[in-house]
Symmetry: C2
Subunit: 518 residues, 2 copies
């Protein structure tokens, strides 16, 4: 084995990184600690190999809050030498630094590598360890809305092909290695789900939920070039990113305790800006609390403040719940029979997919308007990305065909049931917790231990954390989680005496379990 290919990169602050790495391991994984030491004793090669696994694992960096938290701009200015960590260190945000020390360097093959097979052996080793860490990480995962339970074994045969749906899904390209027939099959299914006729919709399979939002808001802006974008404070950060990218005026609307848009604030803000058309982002499930904006009330508010249907455009960001809501009987319907312009949903979330993807559906008339009026299309491509992953549509097509409407319905019911179970268990243990109706996102008191947060991959914001109950989250896993939380929680307080924090500002008085509110 070539020692260069495995050497740890030397940085000015390597030494501290090094100690830090060991330190964080020693607190959470005592078994691994020994392993590292023994590796160190046999030289640098083994050490770096372990570092690689660790990077794939869990030990680098402090936990990351949810995207809504603004970064501290000062931290971006940080010099080489950051202050020594205090006992409760603030997470350092140093763009372009953290991961370098643990990354898997690309190295030149030796001239004789093909003969000796050393290179192949090295890479096989890296991949095997990486695979093991992925399996471990997949097992302990609660915080992100990804369904990690899928079996696409039948599709492995397609990985050999460079499948690219470049450009428009409905217009064949000369590039023959595409999967439009699957893509349009999937799009038809979603158009049917959201009640838009085949000859009245346009859409495509996107790279992720963000691309759906970028597209929906862009369509809105092209329909109303001087429109103002309205979005609740708890909207996904990509919505505000879009506003800045597209140079649109953007007004943030307040939210209720549940996380839903506050329509009385919305009304006031509309009345202050009656002269300009409105482009509204409606959340079908917010990122943090899984709150579903009341689409009907949003429309009613627009109508009552004098916005006719030709003066507003609604984009529904259905990242996760856009695909769950249709299967819940009592849920308000997302449908193109209402005056909405576009709906986007993620494909890797509820459906589950090896890579991020999403579905974007809009009205064909808007895409036509786009191309006619603003000469938007430099080509016949009305997508945001030019080349598009042709594998994603096949994954989606495969799952939709296998599970069907009824299969999804069952899974949604299971998720909602299990989410209630989690909330009930937390509350029974005296831990403040909230679960919105129609949601499988359980919000609760942020665990005070970063290792615990990292181990269960919880997403945190301020004083709260959340777990999202997806189809791969069983009652057994939830029990393991709650049991461990209860077991460890007392040790996070001085003298082991639990002082339940007040999080009523985040989840409301009724859900808070602090001394005052319980």
């Amino acid at each position: 084995m070539d020692s260069l290919s495995l050497s740890l990169k030397i940085y000015k602050n390597l030494r501290r990184h090094h100690f830090r790495l060991l330190f964080s391991l020693s607190t959470s994984h005592s078994k691994k600690k020994q392993k590292i030491f023994s590796f160190e004793m046999v030289g640098s090669v083994g050490f770096v190999t372990v570092a690689g696994v660790v990077a794939g694992g869990e030990s680098n960096g402090k936990p990351e809050p949810l995207p809504e938290e603004l970064i501290n701009p000062e931290s971006l200015l940080a010099e080489e030498d950051l202050p020594i960590e205090e006992e409760k260190p603030k997470r350092e945000i140093v763009l372009g630094r953290n991961v370098h020390t643990t990354c898997l360097e690309v190295t030149e093959p030796d001239a004789d590598d093909e003969v000796t097979g050393e290179r192949e052996a090295y890479m096989a080793g890296v991949l095997a360890r990486y695979r093991k860490s992925l399996a471990e990480r997949t097992k302990h995962h609660l915080g992100y809305p990804y369904n990690l339970d899928f079996d696409y074994g039948a599709l492995a045969q397609l990985q050999h092909f460079s499948i690219n749906n470049l450009g428009d899904p409905f217009i064949e390209s000369n590039y023959g290695v595409h999967s439009r027939q699957f893509e349009v099959g999937v799009l038809d299914w979603f158009a049917r789900l959201w009640e838009l006729e085949k000859n009245e919709y346009w859409g495509y399979i996107t790279n992720c939920g963000t691309e759906g939002n970028l597209h929906g808001i862009l369509v809105g802006r092209e329909v109303f070039p001087d429109g103002i974008l309205y979005a609740s404070r708890e909207s996904h950060y990509s919505v505000f990113k879009a506003a800045r990218m597209y140079r649109m005026e953007c007004i943030k609307v307040d939210t209720l305790m549940s996380g839903e848009i506050d329509c009385s604030d919305f009304r006031n803000k509309l009345l202050q800006n009656k002269e300009k058309p409105a482009i509204i982002n409606v959340n079908i499930g917010t990122t943090v609390k899984g709150a579903v904006d009341d689409l009907d009330l949003v429309i009613k508010t627009l109508e009552e403040t004098g916005f006719k249907h030709d003066r507003f455009y609604i984009h529904c960001d259905g990242a996760l719940f856009g695909l769950m809501m249709p299967f819940v009987k009592r849920a308000p319907k997302v449908t193109f029979k209402k005056p909405i312009g576009s709906v986007s949903v993620s494909g890797h979330k509820f459906v589950g997919c090896p890579m991020p993807c999403g579905v974007q559906i809009t009205r064909l008339e808007h895409i036509n308007a786009l191309s006619r009026n603003v000469e938007y299309l430099a080509s016949r491509d009305a997508t945001i990305m030019g080349s598009r992953n042709g594998h994603a549509p096949i994954f989606l097509w495969y799952t939709l065909n296998r599970k069907g409407y009824r299969g999804f319905q069952k899974e949604v019911q299971k998720c909602l049931r299990n989410a209630h179970y989690l909330k009930d268990r937390l509350q029974a243990a005296g831990i403040g917790a909230m679960l919105n109706e129609l949601s499988s996102t359980v919000v609760f008191e942020r665990p005070k231990d970063d290792d615990f947060v990292r181990r269960w991959q919880l997403a945190c914001e301020g004083n709260i954390a959340h777990a999202i109950v997806m189809p791969n989250i069983t009652i057994g896993k939830l029990d393991d989680f709650v049991d461990e939380l209860i077991l460890k929680r007392s040790s996070w307080f001085q003298d082991g005496k639990i002082r339940t924090p007040c999080i009523s500002a985040d989840i409301g008085v009724d859900n808070c379990a602090c001394k005052l509110h319980k």
Copy 2:
């Protein structure tokens, strides 16, 4: 088998679509024609199965010109009933129509599907046929710059995981199932290639070349909010898409015959707009002609017209040749030692990858400036997409490690040699052809037969077509192509008498093989 799940969707104009489909098959694939008829005789089920394969294959729609060709807006207004095709029909562009009739519909599983295995069998059948069509299409492919020769068998084991590098590559997220350690390894390699220090660059693995351009131009705009975007007419359409998305003033610069930017026109346009900073898109290989803009001359022109280094931002769109040029000794260098702001390159092109991806590298100072000055980051995410495909970095890492610098060098040399071979053979056959120095894109007289164009998946624009010689294109394949072209060409002219068209306006007098110029 469930006949509903296989039924052809009925459209008003189904009948014509139907006949058209058969017609196009009968002209180009006489063997298949018989097959279809025989299937028809046994009922609709077999017929649709064949239609599915056809859609994965080659028979739907007329060939697509390159993206630069503007769509005919009238065509978007087309009603249900389009005019009957003439002998040389214009390609119909009807958004939201073409592919519906041939798509693979998603259908509900039957209640007993799990018992009978019917559904699994049906899907396995669809996939097997699809796989076959992909293999066929991959074999006959010349027009797009994708290296279709790769073997990622060792990575198939990772398809079971939902790998997502959400957010910034350098800052770990709580979501543990990521591949940042591979991603940063790849980024380091590219930063080294383009000579930017580890602590001075920022970058990420994108979803495609377009995302790289969108990002580079956005960085340029945030550095110079009132800057004017300059790009040659032959720039990729995503550059002009970016200008419209970002509401930037954009000035198109003329090109030379080779396809390179015309710096004397550039100079004039700069002089007319001296009061505003300049953001310049420099093409390291244009889409159609593979022309490489003269980066040094662009910088010189900027300097000579009084633009100091703090008044311009250069983004290099290196989609294909950005990764080939570094391996050509005599090629002008793309390097951050010159005053450039960002470079992007596609990963699925020269490297080869099952799905589109790309690499974007920029200066860390710009990303910092971005976050400090314009509060661009709603999160610590300076990427365009939020969730990002975690498999792509592993594919790239794998190939870079296996082939290394020397491996790429060999492949680049082979491509350039084979491109010369193709150009020479075409010219020897009396067919006008052009090959830019440093390029493997051979531009030639557009074949007059759409079936031929489709079969070889050539990209066409106006009177010219091109073939791009990638590592998977052997001399044998080029010989097959030229032999077939020569054989069929005479039949495309009346009386079989070849009248070589004049394409000197596209490829220059020296390269044209028409009666006047040869």
